[in-house]
Amino acid sequence: MISRNLARFLSWTATLPLTSLLGLVGFSAHATRRAQTAPENDEKSILAFRAVASVLTSPRCLNCHVPNDGPLQGDDNHPHAMNVKRGSDGKGSPSLRCAACHQAENTKFLHGPPGAADWQLPPAKTPMAWKRLSMGELCRTLKDPTKNGNRSVQDLIPHMETSLVRWAWNPGPGRSLPPLSHDEFVSRLKEWIDTGAACPQEGAQ
């Protein structure tokens, strides 16, 4: 029975062009390799994501990536003084705009308003909030275009190069820095994307 099937298969392959045959063999080898390396890749990807998340959950990022109406302040994530609101465009309420105090550069004195070009929160429609999310939820939120500002994962890279994001590494006096350097952060982000942007299991911390 086996030899009859083998004979049929060989006679079928004889009718195929050589390139198709090689393709078939190549695909089969790739599938085998993929099956062997996918969990390994996922592990590597999740490890890279955890490094990325250590930055995303630092106060410099988290204070504006909030689910509520207004931003937070300081390393202890306290509500922003003056009852500052997000506003529909993320740039403050119509008559108390972020730019009323936050200029293009930091003020030089301790606890003075920090600044960078286009100072803002994510807009109200896509608040990109990740306060209180588990690692898995944060990862899936980051990948979801309905929650990440309609970005592909590749689009996250240019966002991380904007002056507003880069400000986190030059936050002015009295503010802590994210746990990785900016170069290392972007490098781990690219690694996460290149390894399939895998996410930790639901509920993983």
Binding site: M82, S93, P94, L96, A99, C101, Q103, P113
Partner: protein, 156 residues
């Protein structure tokens, strides 16, 4: 030092200044417009509020270099004859006590009414939360903003 051009109360101005100098210094010391007050110097109190291209900003933390070619309005430029609804309402309600913060309060109120001609109490609270009054005139400020809104509507 560099030449910085902008307009103040619709008049063109050229100042030779270090561009990192706070706008408040330029307004008070160089242009002699002392209605705008120094309060905290850290954008915490709102006493120094002016308008830059129509938006309320804290002039104590705004570098003068950042407002090159922009339009600045101070309390002196709110109207030529104190006829702005906010000015009239402030008089009608007799808002100030010591008065030190009131120019900043009025500039924030004017910026609010420019974008929201019929603000609710909540809108007023949100918009004015960055302007501190140590005399505690907040209730009169809110009342005056409603009065100014009404005056502006009846002018139309």
């Amino acid at each position: 030092m560099q030449a910085i051009h902008f307009t103040v109360n619709s008049k063109p101005v050229e100042l030779q200044m270090d561009p990192s100098t706070p706008l408040l210094w330029a307004i008070r010391e160089n242009l002699g417009l002392t209605g705008t007050k120094f309060g905290c110097g850290m954008a915490l109190c709102g006493a120094c509020t002016v308008h830059v291209d129509g938006n309320a900003v804290r002039s104590c933390v705004t570098p003068v270099g950042a407002i090159a070619n922009k339009h600045v309005t101070t309390i002196e430029g709110l109207s030529p004859d104190r006829s702005h609804p906010v000015q009239r309402a402030w008089l009608q309600v007799q808002v100030p006590q010591c008065g030190y913060c009131q120019c900043g309060q009025m500039m924030s109120a004017a910026a609010l009414l420019a974008v929201n001609p019929e603000p609710t109490d909540a809108d007023i609270d949100d918009a004015m939360a960055g302007n501190i009054c140590r005399c505690g005139t907040y209730a009169r400020i809110r009342k005056a903003i409603h009065a100014a809104a009404e005056m502006a509507r009846s002018q139309k």
